[in-house]
Symmetry: C2
Subunit: 212 residues, 2 copies
């Protein structure tokens, strides 16, 4: 028995106790997909070259180890790269790379929507100046994302706390005109982009190759 949920600790807790003794529960999470959801959003190469994280339980039976290997072989056959990790670490890492970015995107897009009554459509009109990049992941399925945040609460609140702390420091630097702090931080962020591209995790094409 496996699953494909975005949060692993809560799944282990909820499903674990109900798995019969002769079945093997190996939770998993494919890091694949687009902002679209449902069967129509699938495509043949969906998992190709993407990570699939499996979070095996602490089960010492050799049959369990064999089940984990079988699941790994299954995902590899679909083209995925498989990584094993414990459920708790998965939830923290995903809170950083996925849950927080989605939360931030939802927040800024909803805020801008509130402002549209004041800005009279100007946010949409001029969205190509940066804003539209946030709208893509903010278009993801609201039901799924509600459940992600409710089920990975602790890790999300922890990284969100760090984010807000850092944002407050930036806000202060802007208010007091601390150009050096701003420059150094922006330079650091730029380096991270290079690492993402070097790791083959994004295209180096300017503007992602979008025409406009």
């Amino acid at each position: 028995v496996s699953d494909v949920g975005s949060v692993k600790g809560a799944v282990v807790e909820a499903v674990g106790p109900h798995v019969p003794a002769d079945a093997y529960f190996v939770p998993g999470h494919p890091l694949a997909g687009t902002e679209h959801s449902g069967p129509d959003a699938g495509f043949a190469t969906l998992f190709k070259g993407r990570w699939h994280v499996i979070t095996p339980l602490a089960d010492e039976r050799p049959e369990y180890a064999a089940a984990v290997d079988r699941l790994e072989a299954f995902w590899r056959a679909l083209g995925a790269e498989v990584e094993r990790m414990d459920a708790e670490r998965h939830d923290v890492v995903l809170a950083v790379v996925s849950h927080l970015p989605h939360l931030i995107a939802f927040n800024i897009v909803a805020m801008a929507e509130d402002l549209e009554s004041v800005t009279e459509g100007e946010v949409v009109k001029y969205s190509a100046s940066g804003f539209r990049d946030f709208t893509r992941i903010a278009a993801s399925d609201p039901t799924m994302w509600r459940d992600v945040f409710l089920n990975n609460r602790e890790a999300v609140l922890e990284v969100l706390g760090r984010f807000s702390e850092d944002l407050a420091a930036l806000q202060r630097a802007i208010r007091w005109g601390d150009g050096k702090l701003l420059y150094d931080l922006f330079e650091r962020a730029r380096r991270m982009r290079r690492e993402v591209i070097e790791a083959g995790q994004d295209t180096a094409a300017p503007n992602w190759g979008r025409e406009n």
Copy 2:
């Protein structure tokens, strides 16, 4: 005399007094470009179909009006769509659609870079789960962006205040398990994506057509 700076109020204040009486200063801002900067980042269709905002001064001379028309014709000849706006409104609108998104992106990417000593490269490795979308605009020129924030301080602090307020409400909803608030807000954000696409401001291709 014109310019292409991202902030207009500060330019009017700094340049305005030095413009000789027989010259006409018409500030402008082309909303075009990619995350790359410098002469090598230019390309022939850079301004095609993109907005160019001009912020004419309160100058009643007919010669001034003629200069504004001439500048508008120049940008239209480069393929841009031209819009006139007052400098103050420009700075508020851009704070929402461009400056705040960049600030948020810089902040989350720098935060994740801090965490990489803990997460051992996992942020980069799994960045395709959402995080990488933020790295593109965080790769923009640090010098230019430092100066944008220092010169559009008031408008940026104002929208940043709203953003933080809204984020605190989301944080509270996660802590207290308020699924309805989360769902409603995510649904609203999703609608905004549709408006951006309908306005022709972004591609509807899933994942922006990126292969992976």
